[in-house]
Assembly symmetry: C2
Homo-oligomer: 123 residues x 2
DNA sequence: AATATATGTAAGCATTTACTTACGCAAATT
DNA sequence: AATTTGCGTAAGTAAATGCTTACATATATT
């Protein structure tokens, strides 16, 4: 952690512990000790991860008495999503599930022709 | 780079230079010098980045005479996409555009009720 | 008031990262 | 055959990373 470093979302989620922290608090705020209980590493280590996540805007800390509740702010993930989604065309799973979903709508909607074209040049 | 390290896609794309490399070769294979021409850092540095990308399966190198063409294999990005997309509901832009698209289909398809539920609990 | 709890932060440390320069080697060119 | 080109790799280095332990501090509890 040392001095001061580049902080961006891509780097923030590069660490598996930080991804797990995000998973933990995505749906419900937790205080720091509660988060740390889920890991084998020390509480200060978790505190430092939270600091990093805070610095890149992915976590907001709300103080409540002596506790600090960590809330996930995952808007920043859209940056990752946008970057990755440029390359959607290079793998199939996701396209397939979207495809079958559109086909399902299509089946109930024989009048609509244009959603076909939407399906093919979506990206 | 030293000895041997954890290699996963999240860490691979954490580095901005590697993301640029991916951008460069996503649509057309390039040999190493051609890639390096786009950066200020040395050719060996690029070579090391390519090695990392190769180690986590995002680049395949095809030798052709003395040249080595680097081809992007971006299937691995689906792992990132899947992880990030769990949290789609936490930012709006993407949902909005998908939402308006579904609304548009919906408008042409008054019989189909279930796509409404699909829209709300899509994730 | 004394203690316990929840936390931040500093300092130290081993490891990893991202580079550099120097070199080696095979394939192409001359 | 000699040289140039395209590349990998080793060794060295500064900085970053991820952790630890030790300590400080504010808020609760007793």
């Amino acid at each position: 952690m040392s001095i001061e470093a580049r902080r961006d979302v891509f780097q923030a989620i590069a660490d598996p512990t930080r991804r797990q922290i995000i998973n933990l608090i995505a749906h419900k705020s937790m205080n720091l000790n509660a988060i740390a209980d889920n890991f084998q590493i020390s509480r200060p280590a978790i505190s430092q991860h939270i600091k990093i996540l805070t610095e890149c805007g992915m976590v907001v800390v709300r103080q409540e008495g002596r506790e600090r509740f960590c809330e996930a702010k995952l808007d920043g993930l859209s940056e990752v999503s946008n970057w990755v989604d440029q390359y959607k065309q290079f793998w199939n799973e996701k396209l397939d599930s979207l495809g079958s979903y559109l086909v399902k709508i299509q089946a109930n909607n024989p009048l609509n022709e244009e959603s076909n074209t939407n399906q093919s040049n979506n990206q």
